[in-house]
Amino acid sequence: MHSRHLSRSTVARPVALGNHTVLEQTAFWQRVHGLRRALAAQPARRMALVCDDSSWFAAGLLALAHAGRVCVVPQAPQAGSIIASGAHIDAVLTDRPVDFAEFATLSVTGIPPASDSTPSLPDDGALIESYTSGSSGMPKCVPKTFGQLRREVATLEQQWGGQLGDALVCGTVPHYHLYGTLVRVMWPLLAGRSFVTLTCLQAADLRHWAAEQRCVIVSSPAFLSRIADLSELPPAAQIAAVFSSGAPLPDHCAERLQRDWGHAPIEIYGSTETGGIAWRAWSGAAERPYWQLLPGMQAELREESAGPRLWVKSGFTWQSDWMPTGDLARWHTDGRLVLLGRADDVVKLEDKRVSLSEMRTRLLAHAWVENARLLLVEGRRRSIGAVVVLNATGRAHLHAQGKIPTSRELRHWLRRSYEPVLLPRKWRFPETLPDNDMGKIEQSRLQQLFASRA
């Protein structure tokens, strides 16, 4: 795994399984080399990779890296997100049958595979750019080298490779977030395991794959905490490991999965910038607060006004130097970490970080919007509530068309930049924002707007 050429033992299993399709090693590497040749002939230096099929995503990433092109992975696979990210790109590499009107579009399926099928990895210096929500109001670009991805995969393999064996890797998380890119795609690819090309959206999809072979499930609390009937999941005996990342898994959920299903998820704590930092699995309520650092990860606490902030350093952190996390922490006596909560005001929704100030900025750019505030609204499902003051054009539309078409238009606008799960689900259109006698807009008065249906 450390050499540029993969070992012989890893070339036995198919690279990926799709719905009624099997992608063998030979065909995969012929694709990579075919793409690499086509990309080398292109003037584009920086290309956005927008692929729905994980095997095309993997081939595209390797080919871009091989060809010395910067691989830009947009935060959400929408053209609007590419533009909003502020990323300078020259073209889009995609498996979708559509043109991205704003950009030169290169279709992966239109490029003939090469005859060369030698498995070979790109130089460690090749750049892959991921995006994550920054606290400053704009998406934050996180450039990583191929070497950093490779080293993080090596750490995961060192920690869990033996447990995984030759299990098939299935993901309920998208491959365009770095956690998915690494754990769902790059790890199986580099370790010689097969992965499933589609995201498993239902527990039934997991049962389907696990019916034939042992599986690894790469998931998140958004999925795992919503399985009402555990018999919808594959039998625990068919599962080599379950990974959960993005946010802490609620205690009762981890306990229930262990007790009633027979498998405690391995939770990985980390971020796009730092990569995986530490892990835990259910082993009783008393052990719950403690996180074990991953091999090779260094951590220290630096005192701030908000409390002790966790800083980390490893072979795969961004810039390979000490960097701050968004979390406060303390040490347990045995060297494990206890997390004490977020140090900043970016919120987490369905395991994804989202900056409300950034979303507000996007909303204000719409032609109907005069002012807006966004806030987290508790309910059957925690979601973002939008309080929007419309201008004359917007108000005219609201009166003529009604509330649903108005909120749908604004949702549609935000969809250009955000994944659907992050979009506001509740909308209020007051004439003015509720302010107090000091002219300050109070959070509690905004919350009151959502206490009952408007």
Partner: protein, 86 residues
């Protein structure tokens, strides 16, 4: 079939806590996800759970393609009817 379609529309509204939406706002043939009603992947999962519970159907594990059933209200109704007639 029509009765089932109306029931499903109501189930979608209540189980997903959709504000302001009435059954008349939901086109039985329009895509539930993305452009149409604008449901997301979490909605898909919760709707799957609600439908299996209410109609005592099992999502078919012999095909990974459950997406087709969830395309529209009409497809969901066809899927449930097919399950009940077997």
């Amino acid at each position: 079939m029509n009765k089932l379609i109306e029931e499903l529309k109501q189930l979608i509204i209540t189980s997903l806590d959709l504000e302001d939406v009435t059954p008349a706002d939901i086109d039985a043939r329009a895509p539930l996800f993305g452009e149409g009603l604008g449901l997301d992947s979490i909605d898909a999962l919760e709707l799957g759970v609600a439908i299996q519970k209410k109609y005592h159907v099992k999502l078919d594990a012999s095909s990974a393609d459950t997406r087709q059933h969830f395309h529209s209200v009409e497809n969901l109704a066809k899927f449930i009817e097919a399950q009940h007639s077997t």
